[in-house]
C-alpha cells in the first residue's frame, strides 16, 4: 500500500517488536519480513535506527553469531521488558482502533 510511510512512523516500533517476538531474527531479515507483509515503503534506514533504539532502551536480548563479513551478526529476541512494551503497544493499538471504529460508524449512521 502506498503513502504509508507517515502513518507507519508511529507504529513501526510495535510492528518490529511483534516480528521479533515470533523468534530470533537479525536486522535485515526484519526488513524482508516487513516487505513480505506489504510494508514496502519502510526505508532501510528506519529499521536500522529502530533496532538501535530498541537496544538502547533495553527492550531486546542480543545474541551475536559469526558472520561471513567479519563482525559478528546480532540476532534479536524480546526480553521481559520488551514483551511488556509489546503488550502495552497492542493495548494502545486496540484503544486507537476501537475509537476510530466508533468514529467511523458514527459518521455512517449520520449519513443514514
Amino acid at each position: 500500500m502506498q503513502n504509508m510511510r507517515e502513518m507507519l512512523k508511529g507504529v513501526l516500533e510495535g510492528i518490529v517488536m511483534e516480528i521479533i517476538s515470533h523468534g530470533e531474527i537479525y536486522g535485515y531479515e526484519i526488513t524482508k519480513k516487513l516487505r513480505s507483509l506489504g510494508f514496502e515503503e519502510v526505508a532501510e534506514a528506519s529499521v536500522y535506527a529502530l533496532l538501535l533504539r530498541l537496544e538502547k532502551n533495553k527492550l531486546v536480548h542480543i545474541t551475536k553469531k559469526p558472520s561471513e563479513l567479519g563482525p559478528p551478526r546480532k540476532f534479536y529476541t524480546l526480553n521481559e521488558r520488551g514483551h511488556e512494551e509489546l503488550v502495552a503497544f497492542w493495548a494502545r493499538w486496540d484503544f486507537l482502533r476501537e475509537r476510530l471504529q466508533i468514529l467511523r460508524l458514527e459518521e455512517k449512521e449520520n449519513e443514514i
Binding site: 537479525y26 536486522g27 535485515y28 534506514a45 538501535l52 538502547k56 563479513l69 567479519g70 546480532k74
Partner: protein, 190 residues
C-alpha cells in the same frame, strides 16, 4: 556473496561515517561528540584527535551493524540483477542519515511544495518584463537626453553627457518597472 576488498573498504567507511549520526549523543564518547558537532571542520579535528580517540563499544557495534545491514541489502539488490557498484550507491542513498525532527519534516514538505508549484514560465515572463522595460527605458532616456541637449549638433560638444544621463535614468526606470511587474506576477501566483 563476497564483496571485493575495495567494496568492503567503501562499506566500512560509509558505516563509520553514518552510524555515528544514528547514535544518540549520550552513547558517544566526549571526543566523538566533539567530532560530531564540529561538522565541516571534522576532518581537521579528526586529525588532531586521531591519536587520542577511543571509540566506545556502542559506536563500534553500530558501525558493524550498519556494515552487515548494508551488505545484506546489497546482496539482496545484486540477486535482483543490479551491479555491485549500483547496489552500493543505492544502499548508500537509503541508509544515509536523515534528520527526522518535526522541523526538518516541515521544511522538506515546504521544499517539495515549492518545487511542485514551480513554473518556469513565470521566471521567463519576469525576465522578459525586465528586459523589455530596460530596453524601453534606455531608448526613451537616450532619445530624451539626445534631443533635450540639442540633438546631433550639440552631441560632440558636451551634449553626450545628457544622452548618457538619459540612458542611466531610463535604465533605472526600466528596472523599477521590472520590479513592479515582478511584484504583480508574485501576487498573481498567490
Amino acid at each position: 556473496m563476497k564483496f571485493s576488498d575495495e567494496m568492503k573498504g567503501k562499506i566500512r567507511q560509509f558505516a563509520k561515517e553514518q552510524s555515528q549520526y544514528y547514535l544518540e549523543e549520550a552513547e558517544m564518547t566526549y571526543l566523538e561528540k566533539l567530532k560530531y558537532k564540529t561538522g565541516q571542520m571534522r576532518g581537521q579535528v579528526a586529525a588532531k584527535l586521531s591519536k587520542l580517540k577511543k571509540e566506545s563499544n556502542m559506536s563500534i557495534e553500530a558501525q558493524n551493524d550498519m556494515m552487515l545491514y548494508m551488505s545484506d541489502y546489497m546482496n539482496d539488490l545484486i540477486e535482483q540483477g543490479i551491479s555491485e557498484q549500483e547496489a552500493f550507491e543505492r544502499a548508500k542513498e537509503e541508509l544515509k542519515f536523515r534528520s527526522e525532527t518535526t522541523d526538518s519534516a516541515n521544511l522538506q514538505k515546504r521544499f517539495a511544495e515549492y518545487y511542485e508549484n514551480l513554473d518556469t514560465a513565470h521566471y521567463e515572463a519576469i525576465g522578459l518584463f525586465y528586459a523589455g522595460f530596460m530596453f524601453f527605458g534606455v531608448s526613451i532616456g537616450a532619445l530624451t537626453g539626445f534631443l533635450g541637449s540639442g540633438g546631433k549638433d550639440m552631441f560632440y560638444s558636451g551634449g553626450w553627457i545628457d544622452t548618457l544621463i538619459g540612458v542611466v535614468v531610463g535604465g533605472i526606470i526600466g528596472i523599477g518597472l521590472g520590479l513592479i511587474s515582478n511584484a504583480f506576477i508574485l501576487l498573481k501566483k498567490k
